[in-house]
């Protein structure tokens, strides 16, 4: 406590002592000695005052008042010259040695009287609190409630704090885990640097490359402001995004609400008599955050005049810009007076604190090493703006800020009034293209332009509401026509809702759209959920908001009695098979949870990290290889499974970030003697092909050829590979009399070779077979003893690049199926498999192992991959006869009108794949 009190006292005194009156009067903004800034992610564990992430200096004191404003936990307070904080009730905070007992309410009401009845949280007690105290060291108590600050910390180190009041009897002593406290070391600053180097150059290069490409093709930039600061563009309200540059030919793929944030410019096309349109990639606004049907990443075309420069933030509502990445603000770090900003490369806004931050590279006075930190935008607006103006054009050069106090520099900028508002003028719309228009609009060019972003996960939202595709507008959307289109769209969306007529009109029935997937659902994204043992006394592990879980159901009631109370608690299992108990209120279906941010790509993702959902995380036997710094190496696991990846804090990343066998990386540092060694392996720092610095177990890197590498394209033309790993013997071809001669199949004496044919009659002719059955022998090598030789039917793999659109679902006799939408637009059902761990929305590559085939345990047929294919526009020639697996003539139904026969293609592909 003494340390904290000292800190506050020191803060207030030093703040005042070191400010001269001219500074206050002119409201200049500087990084003052003794103040603290937000460190980047790498210093998560490197800060002592972990609960004070929100302490920041607001340099703009009210003119004429000798006081300095600080922001604390999202609220603003003032420190006057006497060093006493004038905000009522706010003085000091005790040490972090308390927590709130279970089921005590944290009241938000500032006076602790509960008049408003509002509360932030109930059932708290999972994290420590700090108790506000008077200058005499007494707790601030009113009406039996003590003023406290609740600190909740997630696994990523991010802190969420709440100010409020808790009944005194609800507070109990609590020892802060030592893991919450760690001194800042110089090495940690190195880690910060490494982290940022891995992170920010990607964002920079993304934008820079886009602009360079653009400038090559078009002498004149299509949008005049594009060269100034590409990261801060928004779109006008009600902007429509089309899938083609011409509104005449393009479908509306999204409607943007106010201040959608542009993430990059990709291309420009001009249409005669319709002006020019720009292809954009954008992040959705937080305004749309709760709409699960809206994609977080959208690539589309907008009219040029729809973009608006945001050269000043004053025009932007505080809650409009929020970026999910890099939002880990935790702890504070001292910065020397006169530190200079030598780079500024990102702005992030956090809705929970209603504030925006700049990530800056600071050169501290007298320090040899630079520091990366996050600074409140408002606090440092002037120097930031100056920096932008002076240095953005020559970003690689360091800002020539002198080591002496730079305040006069900022002071000349003046007060807030000098901050320029956002010019809400439209950029120039007439753009000159040197390429012939016909070329630009050719299908090939269009295909290329539109294909490029297809690897991004922007399709997710579109797929989620496929029935909301809107009609093509009749004419180019002028402002007026946009409104018309909006009305039309609304009507059409009503039509879409009409398709939901099957809904059951009963309050007792919960109906949602999307997969049946339970997730952790907390009030704020970034919070974590403590999963406890059955006694609810001990925390077993924590889960992040949005993490997938499965719920145990007992053979009866799920209610649990703890002490005198009965709780609705449930037993859950996470994706790593950890089991524990949580309150039911924190679990919901994924599509019902508003606090989950949609999936976003990995930083600078080009596919490998996000697209590595192999069915097994099986590192297998380690490889041995001598590795040098900057040497290229290949990820290599013995079974072709994924390789666990750790960030620079040695926190294991989600499975989607794992590396796949065959992925190329660059060795960055192989001397990590003092680093942790998860699972007993020696770890090495690598840079993946997206430029991210990670740690992986050294033993699974090799400089030689990796036998288990995912055989991308596998030598088969067109990027296809046969979906089974063992030749079927053409079991799905009618004239093949003996598809299998393997001895392991001899026990199936009654096997008839044509049973797995597409269209084969079933149920006495009442149905027809929708798949080609790709038979596999028994006795194939199993990845682990969890698979029995009796049921195991070998691996199956993606036939072509694609995306999983339906994860494992019950199929037949205890087997499952998944559905993959391939890059050739063919949608394939891979059936009669083990469920595995491949999840929806994951991209897969041709040849990537998706899982394992499971025998159904019945009859004389061997294990098989039940392989169905569907393609938009294709219809089976025997339509009306063939009915998938449904009964013929039963309400004339069919499995899907897009089912088609791919037997001949499969035959050819099998021959090419296996060379037979």
């Amino acid at each position: 406590m003494a340390m904290i009190i000292t800190f506050f006292v020191g803060l207030s005194h030093s703040a005042v002592a070191e400010q001269d009156s001219s500074t206050l009067a002119s409201s200049s903004c500087l990084v003052e000695k003794g103040y603290r800034l937000y460190p980047s992610r790498a210093s998560t564990k490197a800060t002592k005052n972990v609960g004070r992430k929100d302490l920041r200096v607001q340099c703009l004191g009210a003119p004429g008042e000798n006081r300095q404003m600080i922001a604390f936990a999202g609220k603003k307070y003032f420190i006057d010259s006497s060093g006493v904080i004038s905000q009522r009730g706010f003085t000091y905070i005790s040490e972090e040695k308390y927590r709130v007992k279970e089921d005590f309410v944290l009241w938000a009401d500032a006076m602790g009287e509960g008049k408003k009845g509002a509360f932030y949280n109930s059932g708290i007690g999972r994290e420590f609190i700090q108790v506000f105290q008077t200058a005499e060291g007494q707790p601030i108590i009113q009406n039996g409630r003590a003023q406290v600050m609740l600190n909740q910390r997630n696994r990523r180190g991010k802190f969420v704090t709440y100010n409020g009041w808790v009944s005194v009897e609800g507070i109990q002593e609590f020892q802060v885990p030592s893991s919450h406290i760690k001194s800042l070391k110089e090495n940690d600053v190195d880690s910060v640097m490494e982290d940022i180097k891995a992170f920010s150059p990607l964002l920079h290069s993304k934008f820079t490359q886009a602009h360079q490409t653009l400038k090559k093709s078009y002498k004149q930039s299509p949008i005049s402001q594009i060269g100034s600061n590409p990261q801060i563009y928004i779109l006008k309200e009600n902007t429509q995004v089309f899938d083609r540059p011409s509104a005449l030919s393009g479908k509306v793929i999204a409607e943007l609400e106010a201040y959608q944030r542009l993430d990059g410019f990709l291309d420009v096309r001009c249409v005669p008599n319709h002006g020019c349109m720009t292809q954009i990639q954008l992040d959705s606004s937080p305004l749309l955050k709760n709409d699960k049907n809206v994609s977080k990443k959208i690539v589309g075309w907008i009219q040029n005049e729809k973009t608006v420069s945001l050269s000043a933030r004053s025009k932007i509502p505080n809650d409009t810009l929020a970026m999910s990445f890099g939002s880990e603000f935790d702890g504070v770090v001292q910065v020397s007076k006169g530190s200079e900003i030598v780079d500024l490369n990102l702005e992030i806004c956090l809705s929970e604190v209603n504030s925006c931050f700049h990530r800056v590279l600071l050169r501290e006075v007298g320090k040899a090493k630079d520091l990366v930190a996050w600074i409140l935008v408002d606090d440092f607006r002037d120097p930031v703006q100056k920096f932008i103006a002076a240095n953005l054009s020559a970003k690689s050069e360091r800002a020539p800020i002198a080591q002496e106090d730079p305040r006069p520099k900022a002071a000349t900028k003046g007060s807030e009034s000098e901050v320029k508002p956002a010019p809400q003028t439209s950029p120039t719309t007439e753009k000159v293209s040197k390429a012939p228009l016909s070329d630009l609009l050719s299908d090939e060019a269009m295909g290329k332009a539109l294909q490029e972003p297809s690897s991004l996960p922007e399709e997710k939202g579109i797929q989620r509401r496929p029935r909301r595709v809107k009609a093509e507008p009749a004419e180019q959307p002028t402002e007026e026509s946009t409104e018309d289109a909006d009305i039309a769209d609304e009507e059409e969306s009503n039509v879409g809702e009409g398709l939901e007529e099957g809904r059951y009109d009963d309050d007792r029935v919960v109906e949602v759209s999307g997969a049946f997937q339970n997730v952790v659902c907390l009030s704020l994204d970034g919070n974590t959920l403590n999963v406890k043992d059955e006694s609810f006394n001990n925390v077993l592990f924590t889960l992040n908001n949005g993490e997938k879980i499965k719920v145990f159901q007992s053979f009866g009631s799920n209610q649990k009695k703890l002490g005198r109370k009965t709780y609705d608690v449930i037993k859950i299992q996470d994706t790593n098979a950890n089991i524990g108990w949580v309150s039911k209120e924190f679990i919901s279906l994924e599509s019902e949870c508003n606090s989950i941010e949609s999936e976003r790509p990995a930083e600078g993702n080009t596919g490998s990290e996000e697209e590595s959902p192999s069915t097994e995380t099986d590192q297998g036997e380690p490889q041995r290889s001598k590795l040098e710094i900057d040497q290229k190496a290949t990820v290599c696991t013995s079974t072709g499974g994924d390789l666990s990846v750790y960030n620079l804090h040695f926190e294991k990343l989600e499975q989607k970030y794992f590396l796949s066998s065959g992925d190329q990386v660059t060795v960055k540092d192989n001397l990590l003697k003092d680093k942790p060694k998860p699972n007993g392996y020696k770890y090495i720092q690598i840079q993946d092909k997206s430029g991210n610095l990670r740690y992986v177990a050294k033993d699974f890197l090799t400089t030689s050829k990796c036998a288990s590498a995912i055989p991308v394209d596998a030598g088969v033309s067109g990027g296809y590979i046969f979906p089974t790993t063992v030749s079927t013997g053409y079991s799905y071809i009618s004239n093949n009399s003996r598809p299998y001669r393997l001895s392991s199949l001899t026990r199936f004496s009654g096997y008839r070779n044509n049973w797995g044919l597409y269209g084969a009659r079933r149920s006495g002719g009442g149905r027809a077979h929708a798949a080609t059955d790709l038979y596999q022998p028994f006795g194939l090598t199993r990845p682990s003893s969890n698979y029995s030789s009796k049921y195991f039917g070998g691996a199956f793999r993606a036939m072509k690049d694609g995306k999983v659109v339906r994860e494992a679902t019950y199929f037949y006799l205890g087997t499952s199926y998944i559905v993959v939408h391939h890059a050739d637009d063919v949608v394939s059902r891979y059936g009669e498999i083990y469920p595995g761990t491949i999840y929806r929305s994951k991209n897969v590559r041709a040849g990537q192992t998706l899982g394992y085939i499971k025998w159904v345990g019945v009859g004389a047929v061997p294990p098989m991959l039940h392989f169905e294919n569907y393609k938009p526009g294709d219809r089976d020639v025997r339509r009306g006869v063939l009915s998938g697996s449904k009964r013929i003539n039963r309400r004339n139904s069919q499995r899907s009108k897009h089912l088609f026969d791919r037997t001949s293609f499969m035959k050819s592909l099998e021959r090419k794949t296996f060379g037979k």
């Binding site: 509401r465 099957g502 059951y504 009963d506 007792r508 029935v509 919960v510 109906e511 949602v512 759209s513 999307g514 997969a515 049946f516 997937q517 879980i549 499965k550 159901q553 007992s554 053979f555 009866g556 037993k571 299992q573 089991i579 004496s749 009654g750 008839r752 149920s763 009442g766 149905r767 077979h769 969890n786 029995s788 009796k790 659109v805 339906r806 994860e807 019950y810 037949y812 006799l813 205890g814 559905v819 949608v827 083990y834 469920p835 159904v856 345990g857 019945v858 009859g859 047929v861 039940h866 569907y870 393609k871 938009p872 697996s885 449904k886 309400r891 139904s893 499995r895 899907s896 897009h898």
Partner: protein, 244 residues
Amino acid sequence: MKKSYILPLILIALSLLLFLHSKNGSIFSKEKIANKNSFEVSKPIDSNSPSKLVIKDNKRLLVRENEKGQVVQTELSEDEASVVQLAQIFKSYAGTQRNEKDFITDLLSLGLKPVVARDRQEVIEDLTIIRPENTLPGVRYIHGQFDGDETQELQHISFEIKKGPNALEQGKKLVSESMGLGEPVKNVDPKMVLYKMDGYVVWLKELSWEDMMGDPFNAYSKEDVGNVRIAIERDIHDHSDHGS
């Protein structure tokens, strides 16, 4: 002196009853032949239904006609009654026009709270999954999958019963009696029982860890090995047609 005889006699009688009970299994030991009119059935016995679950005097009775045309009543435990209720409901979806809405209605009528998730797809069929939040005594993981198209036709419905020394056999008896199933298909895994029924299959399986690991919907620990899943689903392959 007389009292000293009475107590042992009572104990012997109780032991005998207990022995007979264990020998006959849990559910059909209380089977009685009765007059059809002697029951207060909630509804008349449907001619298409092989059996009826009747609540009388706080007893759960499975009422059916045997091959001789006699009405047979079997007293069921609460857990067994749940299996019968679900099995009878499940049967009504095989080869009939009953659909997803009916399933929701059926679940509601059992006091369950259905959660319905509709997965829309453009190219492949839509899918509706229905799982109640709560469950009936003695069963869990009630799960329904229906086509998301206009037919809302059944793909798969299943639930799970507790493991036990004769769980598979007891489940088989309950299900076959409730659904009026014939002989099971031969040449199947010994820990599985399979019936064919009008384009659908009814199966019961004693779950191994291999069956449970990675289950897309249900959470399992290894303590659950031995539980029995009971399912009725569209017959994709008609494997039973060949190869015996």
